[in-house]
């Protein structure tokens, strides 16, 4: 691949391009495609002449800024989660979406929010965490991922089946709770329309812990890429590595689902792009995949607002429309 061979020459160029794409998306999403007409100049005004009475500045500071920040951080989380899963399972299709971690979290989140049985007593973060765990455990145990002769294709097919099952349950639960709610469609597809500063303060502390945990595993993942036995003989405690990676993935995914619902396929696309742009060192790949995920969600959110303004399309539908052809491409390329 051309991109791969030129990676060596562009050690600074590629990250710079990536960062500027992200920054551009972030800045445009602060003022672009808004119900309330805003211009780039208004952003500038905040910096040079802050005025707490100005309605435009208030809109940007209270609505747009938290939304863009949350979009980026959720994208970062999902990109990192996808890379961790692919690194640990050495399965190129592993991702929160295809291993039903997203839909498990969404299922328990739905049960939690409609007040089903004892789920209503749990805080929503814990409910989504348990849901993510449930989805992942179901896929691995039913897809034979725990056996020594585990098969990558079977694991993915099992993931898809569990995904179908859990999202059907979510749909049923939401319909029984409220038959007129069109929000079912929006929330189930992952939407950023109800984000405010409170969501941000919910998101960043847990994300920070999970990301630190994720980065602490990068050396282990590099050695794991050589094969489990090699990694073992090089002094990596595989079980401990798995526990840490799983915990990080579950935290990263579940906190994102709590706030925005399941935003699909980001965790599949970002790691593959990162690997095409950079080398295979997880120390580099983890931030790269995270930044790509952040840029993807940020731009997808911008796009989702621009399709039928002033109404909003859920951002998850945009990522699904980009992600599914990418998924087909990966399968046909024989990546599995």
């Amino acid at each position: 691949m051309k991109i791969l061979s030129s990676a060596g020459h562009s050690k600074t160029l590629t990250p710079a391009l990536l960062l500027s794409t992200l920054m551009l998306g972030f800045i445009i999403s602060l003022y672009g495609q808004s119900e309330f007409l805003l211009q780039a100049n208004d952003l500038w005004q905040i910096l040079i002449a802050p005025d707490s009475q100005d309605i435009k500045q208030q809109v940007i500071l209270l609505l747009r800024l938290p939304r863009s920040l949350v979009a980026c951080l959720i994208g970062f989380n999902l990109g990192v989660a996808g890379l961790l899963m692919q690194g640990l399972t050495r399965n190129p299709l592993a991702s929160p979406t295809l291993f039903a971690i997203n839909s498990g979290a969404a299922c328990l989140m739905a049960l939690n929010s409609i007040g089903f049985a004892f789920f209503s007593a749990l805080p929503s973060e814990l409910a989504t965490f348990l849901g993510a765990l449930l989805g992942g455990v179901l896929v691995f145990s039913l897809g034979g991922g725990l056996r020594s002769d585990s098969n990558a294709l079977r694991l993915i097919l099992a993931g898809i089946a569990v995904n179908g099952l859990l999202s059907s349950l979510t749909r049923a639960a939401l319909i029984i709770a409220d038959d007129t709610a069109y929000s079912i469609l929006h929330w189930l597809s992952g939407s950023l329309s109800e984000i405010d500063w409170h969501s941000w303060s919910q998101l960043w502390p847990l994300s920070l812990i999970a990301l630190l945990l994720a980065f602490s595993t990068s050396r282990g993942l590099n050695l794991n890429a050589l094969g489990e036995q090699t990694a073992n003989s090089l002094g990596i405690n595989i079980t401990w590595l798995r526990v840490r990676v799983c915990l990080a993935v579950l935290l990263l995914t579940s906190i994102s689902v709590t706030l925005a619902g399941p935003i699909v396929f980001v965790g599949l696309i970002a790691p593959h792009l990162a690997r095409a742009l950079f080398n295979n060192n997880h120390l580099v790949l983890l931030p790269a995949s995270g930044l790509l995920g952040a840029a993807l969600v940020c731009w997808a959110d911008l796009l989702s607002r621009s399709i039928i303004p002033p109404a909003e399309t859920p951002v998850g539908i945009i990522t699904a429309l980009i992600g599914t052809p990418f998924f087909i491409f990966l399968v046909l390329k024989g990546k599995l």
């Binding site: 039913l142 319909i175 599914t324 052809p325 046909l332």
Partner: protein, 324 residues
Amino acid sequence: MTRYTQLLLSGFLLLFLLACLSLAMGAESLPIKTVLQTLIHGGDQDFIVNYYRLPRILIAILVGMGLAISGVLTQGIIRNPLASPDLMGISGGAGLAACTMLLIWPNIDNVWLPPIALLGGFSAALVIWLLNRWHNPSPARLALVGIAISAFLSSCINFLLILHPVEVNSAMIWLTGSLWGRNWDYVWPLLPWLIVLVPFSFYLAWSLDLFALGEDTADALGVDTKGLQIAALLSAVALASVSVAVCGTIGFVGLLAPHLARLLVGSRHKLVLPVAALVGALLVLSADTLARNLAPPLELPAGVLTAIIGAPYFLFLLHRYKGY
């Protein structure tokens, strides 16, 4: 009476009883006696029984048969236990076409639904066929490609429905498959297609048994294998598409029914096909009856219930399947 006839008869009996039950139960429960009287003489409950529940039951039976037969033909020709019209993207294509048409012309006559869905179904089938020719994937990978394509198509449907919000129950028809609000106006456009396609599939089933011996053997025994493959695939796509045109993408019936039928009567298509059709009808009818009665007057989409049964069965198939 052979065991097979007994099986068929008991299947019909079960279907009949279930239909009676489904006529009687719902948001407004009626005694069986009233139902039978209303069926013959009309009366106070005429609307509920004859215009609301009866056509819905008929559609459930017809659609279940259509999807099941389509599944038998697909699995027979591709010789892939994981194949079925909904997992190959054919239902998705048909659903997308029908849904798009309804959003563009909301008042169009229902007669046009099946042909438009056919167009969508055939396009999806063409894509799968081309991918299969270029890449020649293994059966399990073909299933994965099919699932990926249906995921893409259903996110397109999702996208369309968000762009043009409709009432949530009608949206659910295209998202998960549902029999909500289906009445006599939908029976008539569906019926002629099935009257042609179902007997044709039974005719094909005779040759499919020879095909199962392997292509070369079938050739040697005088079967026109190319022609048979094409005819069977075309009718499988057509059956799935017209079913989807009426009640959306009800998932897993086309996968589940043929497998259950084979468990019951072995693998000869001649025997499997009628049993699979019965099982399919039973599946969709019981899913719809349950969907109406779990939390009346609320309705769940029938497709949600078939997925709750079907997805675990798919997992079981994965567990047993060895040819990855």
